[in-house]
Amino acid sequence: MADQTSTANQWPADAAPYDLISPARKRLGWALMAAATLGLLATILVQILYKSEVDTVGFETWRPVVYAYVLWGVALGIGQVLTRGEDGQRALFLLPALLFTIAMVIFPTLFGFYIALTDWNLSSFSGRKFNGLDNFWQMVGDPYYRNALFNMVLYVLAVLVEYVIAFGLALLLNAQIRARKFFRVVFLMPLMLSPVAVSWMVGKSLMEYRFGPAATLARHLGWDNPAFFSDPIIARISIMVLDAWTFIPFMMIMLLAGLQAMSREVLEAARVDGATAWQTFWQVTFPLMLPVSVTAVVLRIIFKLKLADIIITVTSGGPGGATDSVSSFIYREYRDRSNVGYGTMLAMAYLVIIVVFVTWLLKLANRFVRNVN
């Protein structure tokens, strides 16, 4: 790993004496790092040979490789301090997080791209077989996956409705009211509670067809057949409502912070100029709130793209896969069919779509904010 920390400008230049490192110490540091690297490589090599049955000496699981990686990280850190002194100490701040994230993200993702190209069913005995792009072609022709992607579009669009409600609530909380703290705590509550536990209770009993209070209320309001989860369109809306219940507080809190950070003078000026409350909102408050709004909506969309637990617990994708999100669909692909190869291909395709979409979204958001202000 070639890394150099250049001395930061804001630090006094007289820190130089600390950087006087004896050649012996430097050699020790290099030796330590080299030894650790060799040790790590040797462990991996022995394990590969053992697993491919070339060699009889090795370990039962790959866990020693993990230990070797941790030791290598520690040695790398010590080596940095030994060879580079104060610069090394600075690098030490970043190293743990960096080594951790690289090990936990880069390697599994690359491995995932490999699995995606294999035919691998954990419940069959044949094991892993490389099958090239077969999974990809199967995915292209899979109507259920296409439906799940389409559902994600709908679910993401529902964020706009959530945004309107959250903005309204933030305005309410920002108004001159009594018991503001009480209402804020109450409004924040849904975000704290386990979505699985709540969606169980809400989705499976509160919205129960025969006796759930929500169904009873719907009957009183004139809906004869209040089945929340049997019609595909109504089921999707029910899922959106459940998810919105959990996450509206998140946007609300961000928007409230934005409202409170707004300068009072601007609003005063608008009022002095004779603007009505309606005009003040559209001409002053809303434009000033745009940056916060965009941040809140983008973050919310990113969370929405991970939507799975509510669908898995309440509908398991039903009726007939109508409410499936991509995540819940892949979850069932594994749970019901143990189809690791195909499931991973779906996940990797989703990752590519998400990365493209979010990049586009961030660009759009930037341009949007700049144009309005």
Partner: protein, 305 residues
């Protein structure tokens, strides 16, 4: 984030009648939404005291509609009359509960430690790892936020099996740390940016080392931010379901997985289900009420400049 009372003068200009109308509307809307937020919680708690008939007839108000009974809690082994008897369900519940506590506290602590260090380094020094500069490293960390769990789930399933971490709490802790790390770095970067560099410069002149200055000077000031990040991370880890459902089976199962797997062969026992759900949401409800200030601080970090 403290809330100042806003002094709108608009009410002074308007007529009394329209003032009252607007008050009625505002409080009406507030109470309506409070009802929407609280009713499911109320329903969950009361259902845990209902018998089957009370559930299926949709009775709502205890003592008026139905006679509360410890039925749900008895099935968990947590009602007053069963709490001193041995109960396998209770043992199972406490095992899951401790799993949830250990994984979420462990993951949040680990994320706070490595996340704070990284955030501090990124706000104070200029790094250059190969061709990656500070901005690129920050982006690398924050971009983990968009990574959906489903992408990592199956590779991890396979890797954990090879490494022997499947169905262990350590395995979950590592994954949860990864999940909350970007949020922690985001919050802590905001925190450290708000602390003037002069403080550390003075400490360095006084002879403290870089790490000494960090631990003795910066950490105490940034503590509220760390608490905020810790609590937010706790909430996310406690409620996490997807990884836990895929990667644990018997030993390391957490509370949400236990809740979700409660469908018996002879239908659903609403009362025990409700008791379990209540027990699962209670710790966070308490945290939410007691530490709301920190939660809001964590969520609004970096949102408002």
């Amino acid at each position: 984030m403290s809330v100042q009372t806003t002094n709108y003068t608009v009410s002074e200009i308007r007529s009394p009648a329209s003032f009252i109308t607007s008050r009625v509307f505002i409080y009406g809307a507030l109470v309506f939404w409070a009802f929407i937020c609280l009713f499911p919680i109320y329903w969950t708690i009361t259902t845990s005291f209902k018998s089957a008939v009370d559930v299926t007839q949709g009775h709502l108000i205890p003592f008026v509609d139905f006679q509360p009974d410890w039925k749900g809690w008895r099935s968990l082994g947590l009602s007053p009359d069963s709490i001193f008897q041995t109960s396998t369900v209770r043992d199972e519940f406490f095992k899951r509960f401790m799993n949830s506590v250990i994984t979420s506290v462990g993951a949040s602590s680990l994320a706070i430690i490595i996340g704070s260090l990284a955030a501090y380094g990124l706000t104070r020094y200029r790094y250059k790892f190969a061709w990656f500069k500070n901005e690129d490293i920050s982006f690398f960390f924050l971009s983990q936020l968009i990574l959906p769990p489903v992408v990592l789930a199956l590779p991890f399933l396979v890797l954990y099996r090879e490494v022997g971490l499947l169905d262990t709490r350590i395995g979950l802790i590592l994954l949860y740390t990864l999940m909350v790390l970007p949020i922690v770095i985001w919050i802590m970067r905001d925190q450290f940016n708000s602390i003037p560099v002069e403080l550390e410069e003075a400490a360095l002149v006084d002879g403290l080392s870089i790490w000494g200055a960090f631990f003795r000077i910066v950490m105490p000031i940034a503590l509220p931010g760390m608490v905020a990040a810790f609590i937010l991370a706790m909430v996310l880890c406690w409620n996490e379901y997807f990884f836990a459902a895929l990667l644990t089976s018997t030993d390391a199962k957490t509370i949400p997985v236990m809740v979700a797997s409660q469908t018996g062969s002879q239908g659903i026992n609403w009362w025990s289900m409700a008791a379990l759900a209540t027990a699962a949401i209670a710790p966070l409800a308490v945290i939410g009420i007691a530490l709301e200030r920190y939660l809001i601080m964590g969520m609004t970090a970096g949102a408002v400049k």
